[in-house]
Symmetry: C2
Subunit: 146 residues, 2 copies
């Protein structure tokens, strides 16, 4: 059954990990797992904003392909889902949106606070690299059983 946008958003926000798909200017897709937090949706922001950080561990430059892609093409897709060999337990939730790489300032501070609240690891060592905000315009989802 198809999920309502509200149900898809709630399932997504409660997940511990998501997958981010980006594409470069030539349309070559890329995919990475991300830890993330969802900002509270409100009347002015009914769909909500998803935040993820680039952590502090040394990375090869190729690991920042997600950031190069976003700079070239902000359209992204996010997915959280549950897999089980009992396929009647399957569900997925997808957010389609536009990504922004945050500089310093208030929104980055808010995002880091949300990430620290969700993941104790970020309390010990907050993400020191760029933080990305994804303004989701469409939530969709599916579950084998409703």
């Amino acid at each position: 059954v198809h999920l309502t946008a509200a149900d898809a958003r709630v399932r997504f926000a409660a997940s511990r990990v998501a997958h981010l798909a980006t594409a470069d200017a030539a349309g070559v897709p890329h995919i990475v797992p991300v830890t993330f937090a969802v900002g509270a949706a409100g009347p002015a922001d009914p769909a909500g904003t998803v935040y993820f950080g680039v952590d502090h561990k040394p990375k090869r430059s190729t690991d920042l392909r997600r950031l190069r892609n976003i700079a070239a093409n902000p359209r992204v897709a996010l997915m959280a889902d549950h897999y089980a060999d009992d396929w009647s337990a399957l569900w997925w939730s997808r957010g389609d949106g536009l990504a922004r790489i945050l500089g310093g300032g208030g929104e980055r501070d808010t995002a880091v606070a949300l990430l620290r609240e969700k993941y104790p690891q970020y309390t010990r060592q907050p993400p020191l690299g760029p933080v990305v905000a994804i303004d989701v315009h469409t939530w969709s989802g599916w579950a084998y059983t409703g």
Copy 2:
């Protein structure tokens, strides 16, 4: 630590679910979870081919966006990964390749046999829709600890 291509491929092949990223001709990315099987790599096909089917359940036409995207732009990315709140257990494996939608014939039969061998669900009811082959040209991966 970065994984060797061989290690990334082995971890991917042993996974029960992967995520597929595609993009349309305008570069808008899409992401879906897929059950899949990996064809045996050989001297003529060192990286291997990943197969997934479109199952028999009724779908809205929008659920076939993965196929429309592949027809418009065969460049795709696949990822299998492990998430745990103990981040020292994290790993991911990514295959970048080109997708082909199979018609009938020998390769489709081989793909369905591989899928049935991996997933008992497909023995009871094999995928009746299109089967997609992804010829992976690059395997890469990362694990927190080697």
